[in-house]
């Protein structure tokens, strides 16, 4: 019975990972499709491929850090179940209210809330939580600074070229590279959050040694492959949904701005992944796009949207934590 519960929760975590890829697909393929560099089906396959191979390129540091956020020895299927319910509930609620929230932060808030409900504040790794909370703000700020600096530098380099068509063609080609880099960063940072949750679950069930979290290759390969597959499949299917609405939702997207935004966001994600910091890919690319927009004029940025994003940043972790804490109390009472 315990084994069934364990693998049922692993399955639920993989569904969460799939939905994450589904939800974030637009970030990876929007620019390459809108500028017609790739056909929709090619863009979807391109992003999914780079999502999947991320584990071969970037270290699994985020997974190891996420697994330690709640003391793995107190982690149980009930705790992870409650954490995932809190995260899913928060995502659905914010989607209904039209608030752009981060699945990653909802997941962290959910696990922390369930952990506190089960064993108190002492089982939470305070340093890890502080690091995550700080980078909720730092990651879009890094994206913003890099995006702004990159677009200004690129504009300064290309403004002397008179062959506009040639410049445009070059950036259309470069979009393939920047979209691949962004998909790689997304596949690494986001899939590793689910890997960390599953690793903590396996440690709590006595099926994995806690020492595995100190080893870069300590997480079982089946966990790594299943998480990368889930996020890549999510991107593939989510990409199709986005492509259908692409014609109406997106207007003029310039290849140069797309390349700079994706490159700045990818660089931020690579840095965060190497440092073992779980960040939101959506918030990171939002920061980069604000950086690109503010290179022209501040009114080019839709500040009402930016304000809603900030509110979602602040509320996601405590909101998901409250829901999952309540869920855990209900699960424990049953």
């Amino acid at each position: 019975m315990e084994t069934v519960a364990l693998y049922a929760v692993v399955g639920m975590a993989l569904v969460f990972d799939f939905v994450n890829g589904f939800h974030d697909a637009a970030n990876s393929i929007a620019t390459v499709v809108a500028t017609r560099v790739l056909k929709p089906w090619q863009a979807v396959l391109w992003a999914s491929f780079w999502n999947f191979v991320a584990f071969l390129v970037l270290p699994l540091t985020v997974a190891n850090e996420i697994a330690k956020i709640v003391d793995p020895t107190v982690v149980s299927p009930g705790l992870i179940f409650a954490g995932l319910v809190g995260a899913i509930f928060w995502n659905v609620l914010t989607a209904y209210l039209g608030l752009p929230s981060s699945s990653s932060h909802a997941l962290i808030g959910g696990i922390v809330g369930a952990g506190i409900a089960k064993a108190g504040v002492s089982v939470i790794d305070g340093d890890e939580l502080r690091k995550t909370a700080t980078f909720i703000f730092y990651s879009p700020l890094i994206g913003l600074a890099l995006g702004f600096t990159l677009i200004i530098t690129v504009m300064w380099i290309v403004h002397r070229f008179r062959a506009r068509r040639r410049v445009n063609r070059t950036f259309r080609g470069l979009q393939l590279v920047s979209a691949a880099a962004f998909s790689l960063g997304h596949g690494a940072n986001d899939a590793q959050k689910t890997m960390g949750i599953i690793a903590a679950l396996l440690i709590g069930a006595g099926r994995l040694s806690p020492d595995a979290l100190n080893d870069p290759d300590g997480i079982p390969l089946w966990v790594v492959l299943s998480c990368q597959t889930a996020i890549a499949l999510g991107t593939m299917l989510g990409g199709w949904r986005i492509v259908r609405t692409m014609g109406t939702k997106l207007t003029r997207l310039q290849p140069m701005g797309g390349v700079c935004a994706e490159s700045a966001a990818a660089a931020t994600l690579f840095f965060a992944t190497r440092q073992g910091i779980p960040v939101s890919t959506t918030h990171t690319i939002t920061g980069s796009i604000v950086g690109i927009g503010s290179s022209e004029r501040l009114s080019a940025v839709r500040w009402n949207v930016a304000r809603r994003v900030v509110w979602a940043w602040v509320l996601t972790i405590p909101g998901a934590a409250l829901v999952s804490a309540a869920t855990y109390k209900i699960v424990a009472a049953l």
């Binding site: 502080r130 690091k131 909370a133 700080t134 730092y138 700020l141 600074a145 503010s294 501040l298």
Partner: protein
């Protein structure tokens, strides 16, 4: 009517201040990120203000 304040410079100054405000919350081994961001936004604010000033300077 021309603006007297460069709103972009103010925005960058606010970003620099936010980076500094978050420093005590950041783990010590990652505080260099906050410092780097604060300095970068300060430089961007000064550059933006200089650009704004040169565009709005009255010519005789």
């Amino acid at each position: 009517m021309s603006r007297r304040v460069d709103r972009r410079a103010v925005f960058f100054l606010f970003s620099a201040a936010l980076s500094l405000v978050l420093l005590p919350l950041c783990p010590p081994d990652l505080r260099y990120v906050g410092w780097t961001l604060a300095v970068a936004f300060l430089v961007l604010a000064v550059a933006s203000w200089a650009d704004f000033r040169s565009r709005h300077r009255r010519h005789p």
